[in-house]
Amino acid sequence: MERIPILRMGGYLLVTIQVDMHDRLALTLQDDLTEQISRTSARGVLIDISAMEIVDSFIGRMLANIAGMARILDASTVVVGMQPAVAITLVELGLSLPGVRTALNVERGMALLQRDLGTQEAAHAHHPA
């Protein structure tokens, strides 16, 4: 069965979706990702969708779901590389994905994640639990 590969980079997980994602594949990705997050104690997930030209409501919901699940597992999610047409489609569908951070490309996405981690750690340092 084909799976979308999940790469590990330091304390982050990197997912690049390069194929047309059908529903089964999306559900498999959800399972794999949550499992990997808990196994590696990742603090951040970067999902790159720059190769996706078509997005439907299911994919949109799936992205929001992944972000929610990751948050529960104490990891922040950033979706990067959305194409303009895809963004317009999602907005027209009414799926503006609140609670999902976004960035223009992987570089910016990583910077965003690192900044988040930095501020989180700074906050922890101020208030030692």
Partner: protein, 342 residues
């Protein structure tokens, strides 16, 4: 042989036809029939011309013919001159159209009219036989519309042909009042239809111009400018309907990709009214930009607009709003400065 078998119309003396034919050309009808396409190099011959003549003289013609055809055949040059006199007398904007061009258009009209009458019925101008004439009138009205003629002047091109046509019809019918009445009726119907067709085409081309200008206006009025590294400004001028929102979104998102901007300032100083629909469109654009990783600031909110938004109960959510472009720009610089320091 064809000459002998052709039936003669009761009123016209045979002599007129014989004289006319030799006047028209040095070649006999028989020669034309033998080589209708003028394949011999010494006698070049316009194919449509000879085909028209051939059909006009065919044995079937008297069955279908009305006097209009004969009148056009016999008196084409005189009718052309009289028509031109009518046109130059009535049309006020003579300087827009050089006389040679007018003459060319008139003779083309008569030529196509004869061709159409030879093939088709005089009552039905929607048929395929009338297609060339319809196209010619369509092109004519289009060019006149662009040159600035009024619809009346353009339609008068066709209607002023009535006077010469009726004159020669009366001459051809002689004392046969019955025939004269019915021929006049057919002629006036025909020219009315053609004139109305011309007026319709004129209207259509005017509408096309307006549509094209609307499109240009839409494209011109939604620029996206880069204010600073990573900061875009989007001044919106005029009403924001769904069409424009689409264009605004597309250009904004494309510019975000091209410049890698992180902040977009949407300035609505130029939007006269903001209702719930406009606000929804704005929020859509903001959401789309956010999905691409850029934050939006809405600036240029006038006091009345602020009141309207609150009264309507529009939820702006987390969108940052500023009263002026200046404060929005300051905010954007500060935000970028803070994030790049890390």
């Amino acid at each position: 042989m064809l000459r002998q078998e052709r039936a003669r119309l009761p009123d016209s003396p045979p002599a007129v036809y014989e004289a006319k034919r030799t006047e028209e050309s040095d070649f006999t009808l028989w020669d034309r029939v033998k080589s209708p396409l003028g394949d011999s190099p010494e006698r070049p011959c316009d194919p449509s011309d000879s085909l028209t003549l051939f059909l006009e003289r065919s044995p079937l013609m008297p069955l279908l013919a009305s006097r209009i055809t004969n009148v056009l055949q016999d008196h084409q040059p005189e009718m052309l001159e009289e028509w031109l006199r009518e046109l130059t007398a009535s049309v006020t904007r003579r300087e827009l159209m050089p006389p040679s061009e007018l003459r060319a258009q008139c003779s083309e009209f008569i030529q196509l009219l004869r061709a159409a009458l030879a093939r088709g019925r005089v009552e039905d101008i929607e048929g395929a036989e009338w297609q060339p004439l319809r196209e010619m009138l369509g092109d004519l009205s289009r060019s006149r519309a662009l040159q600035g003629f009024t619809p009346r002047e353009t339609a008068m091109f066709v209607f002023s042909f009535k006077r010469p046509l009726f004159r020669y019809l009366r001459q051809a019918c002689g004392s046969d009042t019955e025939a004269l009445a019915s021929e006049t009726w057919s002629a006036t119907q025909l020219l009315d239809e053609l004139g109305l067709w011309t007026a319709d085409s004129f209207q259509k081309s005017r509408e096309e111009v307006i549509l094209r200008q609307q499109q240009d206006l839409l494209e011109l009025s939604t620029p996206v400018v880069q204010l600073w590294d990573g900061i875009l400004a989007l001044p919106v001028i005029g009403t924001l309907d769904s069409n424009r929102t689409q264009i605004v979104m597309e250009s904004l998102l494309q510019t975000i990709v091209n410049t890698g901007a992180e902040i977009a300032i949407i300035d609505i100083t130029g939007v006269p009214t903001v209702d719930t629909l406009t606000a929804q469109h704005l929020l859509k654009a903001v959401a789309a930009a956010r999905l691409m990783g850029a934050d939006c600031i809405i600036s240029g909110i006038r006091p009345q607009i602020a009141q309207t938004i609150v009264h309507l109960g529009v939820e702006l959510g987390e969108v940052t709003t500023k009263a002026t472009m200046k404060s929005a720009f300051q905010f954007a610089l500060r935000k970028l400065g803070k994030t790049s320091a890390l």
